[in-house]
């Protein structure tokens, strides 16, 4: 069976699985260069509603570059990123106006950074961090904001009596969970995550992954997770994209790619994990 077959199969499969009429995100020919250096090149894929896609690849393969282009943090040189907006259906987020893109960034999209300090306001209390997105979209009732912040802290297993503490007083795992609460409180439809478990102890990683998996299933979130940890992918991702030197070398259902890798590089990646 060819990789091409897998690609078609997995796309058909996800269409059937989620029963959605059209993808949530359609990426076409996306490239980003840093001067002469290739960040990522000619990346195309569809993400369906409720689907979680993992992006793996060695350091420097372009994972973060791609994610930042998708989330509107970086302007790609070529390509389109079509997102199924609530108001106007499929819109190219590359060419839409900056206010529209930033509005998506604090409503329908969420971005979980590898380093929680990049995604949190470290000088603002946990409650304020969670409440910020609510206030950004017009919430003006303190009691309501606080109630929703308390609820979300609970959902990420942070005790309610820590609501007025700053993240500087939190452990690495707690910070990461706080970052997730802060992002999910407005009910986004698409979550971008860049190495969400990177830099955490193994036991802390496991707990965070469990939590993420629960939230993703429960909220029916679509997500794109960049990682170089195949265990993360195995646990969270329905589909997997393998990158090398800025290009996608393999793309398919997670289990199929991991159990029967087609591309030589993926085979290497998988076997190196199996040896561990």
């Amino acid at each position: 069976m060819s990789g091409k077959f897998f690609e078609e199969f997995s796309q058909d499969f996800s269409k059937n699985l989620w029963g959605a009429p059209q993808p949530l995100l359609q990426v076409e020919g996306l490239s980003k260069f840093y001067g002469a250096r290739r960040g990522c090149a000619d990346v195309s894929f569809d993400l369906w509603p409720g689907e979680v896609m993992g992006i793996v690849g060695e350091s420097g393969s372009g994972k973060t570059t791609l994610l930042n282009c998708l989330a509107g943090h970086l302007a790609p040189d070529t390509g389109r990123v079509l997102f199924d907006t609530r108001a106007h259906g499929m819109q190219d987020t590359v060419t839409m106006s900056e206010p529209e893109r930033r509005m998506l960034g604090r409503t329908d999209w969420a971005f979980v950074h590898q380093h929680a300090s990049d995604g949190l306001r470290m000088n603002v209390s946990a409650g304020g961090n969670v409440g910020e997105r609510l206030m950004a979209v017009g919430a003006r009732n303190y009691g309501d904001i606080r109630e929703r912040a308390t609820d979300w802290l609970g959902r990420v297993e942070i005790s309610g009596d820590r609501i007025d503490d700053r993240p500087t007083a939190f452990s690495g795992g707690m910070r990461q969970r706080l970052q997730i609460a802060r992002n999910l409180v407005t009910g986004p439809r698409l979550v971008f995550m860049d190495e969400p478990t990177g830099g955490l102890d193994v036991s802390v990683q496991a707990r965070l992954l469990d939590l993420l998996r629960g939230l993703v299933r429960e909220m029916g979130l679509s997500a794109i997770i960049v990682t170089h940890d195949l265990a993360v992918v195995r646990l969270l991702a329905d589909r997997l994209m393998v990158m090398k030197d800025g290009q996608v070398v393999e793309n398919g259902l997670t289990d199929q790619v991991l159990d029967d890798p087609q591309h030589g590089y993926t085979q290497l990646l998988v076997s190196s994990v199996l040896q561990v």
Binding site: M135, A136, N141, D164
Partner: protein
């Protein structure tokens, strides 16, 4: 504003210290500020013969605003007789030979730090504020690029995060000075460190000009501009007036300073606006300790 230009041959002297070209540049910034109420207009702040903390932004705006016919008043925390107020008043007496006054009603241009006069201002008056930090978002967002973008795109959620933090920590919005406002439903503005008691007065008949010297920003409120203090539905804005009349003039509507009157720690509450207090006493009003003062 001035129509007078430097007199021929007198290159060392110019009306109100600044050269005409600089004043024109500042006036352009002021006009732009008036055209876009609450928007911070960058301007090329000049070195003034006084330290930044003394209100060089306000001084430059006053210099560009004063005409020879103007009558100038300077308020520092409500008083006309602090070192800062006296120096600025003297500066313009010497460099512009304008008439000066301590009477709010007589002044046509009033430069102020920390207060708005109690006496309502008129359409023919200009109030110039000395501003230390013009950016209301600075407290939570250190990046200038980002705060500019937030203003441009009206992304003001962060302002409420600051108020949220206040309530979470103190049970109420504890911001008492420089209380943020929204201007004409568009720009969020720092009214400079006036007490929030003065916020309701920001909607007034006079032109209000704000100058920040070190930060090189000018912003403005045209007469009768809508100015709304930010708050939450369940924690509405409260200008918080002390439950106390002035001990000298008996005023019940003014902002009061607490003054310690002797070594035994006796204290009294007096109007922070000294001109207002004096005018009331001249008119025969008397507070609880009025006779003693």
């Amino acid at each position: 504003m001035t129509t007078q230009t430097a007199e021929a041959g007198q290159s060392a002297y110019n009306f109100a210290y600044l050269d005409e070209q600089t004043k024109r540049m500042i006036r352009r910034a002021i006009l732009k500020g008036l055209a876009v109420p609450g928007y911070q207009v960058p301007f090329a702040s000049r070195e003034m013969p006084m330290p930044y903390g003394w209100g060089t932004g306000g001084v430059q705006v006053s210099a560009a605003t004063l005409t020879p016919e103007d009558c100038f008043k300077v308020i520092d925390q409500g008083a006309d007789d602090t070192t800062n107020a006296v120096s600025i008043r003297k500066f313009f007496e010497r460099t512009a030979q304008v008439e000066t006054t301590t009477r709010t009603g007589e002044a046509t241009v009033i430069q102020t730090r920390h207060r708005i006069p109690e006496e309502p201002l008129r359409e023919d008056q200009v109030l110039v504020y000395q501003v230390p930090i013009p950016e209301p978002l600075r407290f939570l967002e250190p990046s200038e690029v980002e705060t500019r973008k937030m203003h441009a795109l009206e992304e003001y959620g962060l302002m409420h995060v600051k108020l949220y933090e206040d309530i979470a920590r103190h049970g109420a919005i504890s911001t008492a000075y420089a209380y943020p406002v929204k201007v004409e439903g568009r720009y969020v503005m720092d009214p400079s460190p006036i007490p929030k008691f003065d916020n309701p007065k920001l909607e007034m008949a006079a032109i209000q000009l704000f100058g920040a010297g070190r930060e090189q920003r000018i912003y403005a409120l045209p007469p009768y501009t809508q100015v709304v203090s930010l708050d939450f539905e369940d924690h509405p804005f409260d200008p918080s007036k002390a439950e106390h009349p002035c001990d000298l003039c008996g005023a019940e509507d003014s902002y009061l300073d607490e003054v310690i009157t002797d070594d035994a720690g006796s204290r009294m509450f007096v109007c922070s606006d000294t001109d207002y207090c004096l005018a009331r006493r001249d008119a025969g009003h008397e507070g609880a300790q009025g006779a003693r003062a």
